[in-house]
Symmetry: C2
Subunit: 213 residues, 2 copies
DNA sequence: AAGTCACATTGACCAGTGGTCGAAAAAATG
DNA sequence: CATTTTTTCGACCACTGGTCAATGTGACTT
């Protein structure tokens, strides 16, 4: 708990190393060396190597997700606009921190699977209650018609997270957009909205323009 | 390549060990010992510990998936019936081999993430072309209306695989069924089919009854 | 100023890892 | 039988994640 500085220095060190190496090839000694401290000190702040990774992921996505959460709870904004913010949050939070490394690793990128699984779990569980609320409010306001708001939220988030993470089913950007196009189309028909009306979910919300829809 | 017997003995050994231990805690020496061979021989048949796991997963799901593939290409059967077979294949292939271990592991089950990620990737990529074809034929026959058959196939498979695997978002059986109910409802509306008409996708297809729908 | 004491830091150390390798055994070939 | 090729093996290697007794540090008391 104490000396938050050194705590963060460790996370910074791991983050820096993750930019060029895979988790499995990064040793605790290496992290300690990069952080400029003794190896033993690592275990004063973290119980295991895994715990460092967990803490890093949490620290890394906390800001993005919290601002997303706050923005989406503004009830005066249209549910679809807030839904666009969720889309955007998934899109941007997926790769901004951990470099893709995909150019260097032709070998199956499975090695980082712990990291990606943690990311998927964290993102979906954090955003699910938010998106569920948004959908429910959309239903109350008559803009969305669907009988299973919670399930719909989870389905959308699963698809978004898996596709944006892009390690389980590596795809080109075009392929990703094609799937999203299908998802949006499915959403339109599923929520009784006219074809094309939700297309703005794809373009990415600019966070400061005028409200759409 | 040669001596397929010993090759399979190694896979059997790993499979047996996986029933009680997590991948990370299983050593190559242990696999060798269980298989009744020397450790060095392992590396005569496999290039790495990871390669053993990959081979095991492939061997394990090949039968299930191949029979599923064959069944689903029977064009004389209704697309929805064949879709039910896909649902069933995902459902049954998820846990039948690798024991759940969930009762023993209160600690976050992240450790097996390599295994589960491989499973997800394998299942989805294998079944996607099959399901895409089924949907396309359904569209041609006028039973399905949707503009993005390939995307729809991938979306459905992603949700099915993630939910049945149940490690990324651990849920109770009831919760899983709730999500599937939502997915089916979304499918009904998305493909212009009446509410409830696809509910039989949930019940599990019995593989020898009379055709439904 | 000295003494106290909880907190913080360290690297040698440990059991065990995945993977290598030369030698030996077994099989195949002539 | 000899010779070559394919299999098998376990000692060995560099290194891993994690432990721990020893040591340092600085705030507080007297």
């Amino acid at each position: 708990m104490p000396n938050i500085t050194k705590y963060n220095a460790i996370l910074d060190a791991l983050l820096k190393l993750l930019e060029t190496k895979k988790i499995q090839t990064i040793s605790v000694s290496e992290i300690a060396q990069t952080a400029g401290i003794g190896k033993g000190s690592i275990y004063y702040y973290f119980s295991s190597k895994n715990a460092i990774l967990e803490a890093l992921i949490e620290r890394n996505y906390q800001n993005t997700l919290e601002t997303a959460k706050k923005l989406t709870t503004q009830e005066n904004v249209s549910p679809f606009t807030r839904m666009a913010m969720i889309f955007q949050a998934c899109r941007s939070s997926s790769l901004d921190a951990f470099a893709d490394k995909s150019d260097l690793t032709q070998t199956s990128a499975y090695e980082d699977s712990v990291l990606h699984q943690k990311y998927l779990t964290y993102l979906i569980t954090e955003l699910k209650p938010v998106l569920t609320t948004i959908i429910q409010q959309g239903i109350e306001q008559g803009q969305i018609h669907f009988d299973y708001p919670e399930a719909l939220a989870e389905i959308v988030l699963i698809v978004l997270a898996v596709k944006f993470d892009n390690t389980i089913l590596p795809s080109s950007p075009d392929e990703i957009e094609a799937i999203l196009q299908g998802l949006v189309s499915l959403l339109e028909k599923g929520t009784d909205n006219p074809k094309g009306s939700l297309n703005f979910l794809l373009t990415g919300y600019d966070w400061n323009g005028t409200d759409s829809q």
